[in-house]
Symmetry: C2
Subunit: 225 residues, 2 copies
DNA sequence: CGCCGCGAAATCCTATAGGATTCGTTCCGG
DNA sequence: CCGGAACGAATCCTATAGGATTTCGCGGCG
């Protein structure tokens, strides 16, 4: 619960609280008690407040003045659709850029296709289908998409993609959906196009992947948000 | 310097410090002294620290552990190009969506073409060409692009566009470039396409505008960053 | 002349305390 | 039985103090 301190307590607390939320140790929408957190982490409320302020900018918690913080609520159906659209805009652009850079044969900090290929695989069906399995699946998936965004060479694009992750992550934890083989196949198609230096192909493959993932998640929305 | 307090000092300080940076009251890269800021704003360092933590997530300041905060440095040439690319990705998507929504005749919270048209105009050449003129120009320009992103109907897209603004704003303040009439004409072409419900046209018009704006800014980069 | 190390001052970071506000419960009236 | 007001407890917010670390100037050495 309290890892070896980095340099400032605030940074440690930030990571700890972020982990708590990402692991659903605090449920979406649940109130976040500052003093309780401070006691739990064995620090004073001051660095906790600072960490929460940063997490608010990250969209992981919401603040109501004079009434404390609450964990970010789960995505509504409409917000989920917005998220998909954002991913379509950002990640197809990233895939496209990766392919372009591969074609240009950029050295040094260019696209490491081998690394992408490694992360494209996902934990197989043999893996645990419980919480641990879900966590492993989504973590691996996150690494792939993160790596692709990083290899786009555009740091702002990378950051934008990273910013979207937590919401998707929380959603997946709440509605476990793992289609290992299918997702992995789609990932590999993206890598294929990137390796071939085919921007249009990479764009199309990523678009297909994101739309397919959307379909896989959709059943979890019933009537309400 | 100290507006009527909202509800918490932290929020007020956040706005104040943000304004200081956006007005170049603290130069890019300059160190931000927490105690000095607290004295200047007549508050204790505690809410100042909290505000700075949020501003760090916003990318307006950078933190070095145990060594305080510094105002975000000016964009390098490479980062400027990244910014342009991000705007191309995000804002053409926003323009496209606006046109689609207009064509779909969405009522209520749909696209307010008239409002867009109003903001498309920019302070004319008669205006002050000094700091105040630049500030007025960039503020109006920001409102237009902000409104378009808002009318896209995708809040995440809107937020992403808003996140890019400060960097562009600071850059413009440092290298004053106002081409009122040209920019305004380009804005109106975007509005025309949106009003006509022409997604491809809106995309193209926005792309042309952003690329033209890039060209207008480019001369300010010489050899270094 | 330049580089390195030392010491004092400035600055940052965390803990704690107290005033202000909100939340939950209880009690009362309808 | 239900709605609303009032009281107490919990919680938040800000200020302040002190320990820890960095920064900067200065003197000594190469």
């Amino acid at each position: 619960m309290r890892p070896a301190r980095r340099l400032t307590l605030t940074d440690d607390v930030y990571e700890s609280v972020r982990a708590l939320i990402m692991d659903h140790a605090v449920a979406p929408g649940e109130r976040v008690n500052i003093d309780a957190l401070a006691r739990q982490l064995q620090v004073s409320p001051t660095p906790v407040r600072e960490a929460l302020a940063r997490l608010e900018s990250d969209g992981l918690v919401r603040k109501r003045p004079l009434a404390g913080y609450t964990a970010a609520p789960l995505l509504t159906r409409a917000e989920f659709e917005e998220l998909v659209e954002m991913r379509l805009v950002l990640e197809t652009a990233a895939a496209r850029r990766c392919a372009t850079r591969t074609a240009a044969r950029e050295g040094a900090d260019g696209v490491d296709v081998a690394a992408l290929r490694r992360e494209a695989d996902l934990p197989g069906p043999t893996a645990d289908s419980g919480y641990a399995g879900i966590a492993a699946f989504t973590a691996r998936d996150a690494r792939f998409h993160n790596l692709l965004a990083e290899f786009s060479g555009n740091r702002m694009l990378h950051e934008a993609v990273v910013r979207l992750r937590p919401h998707l992550h929380l959603f997946r934890l709440h509605f476990p959906t793992t289609h290992h083989d299918t997702s992995a196949r789609e990932h590999h198609r993206v890598v294929d196009a990137v390796a071939a230096g085919d921007p249009d192909g990479a764009d199309a493959a990523m678009r297909a992947h994101l739309l397919a993932a959307r379909e896989r998640h959709l059943p979890y929305f019933t009537e309400e948000g």
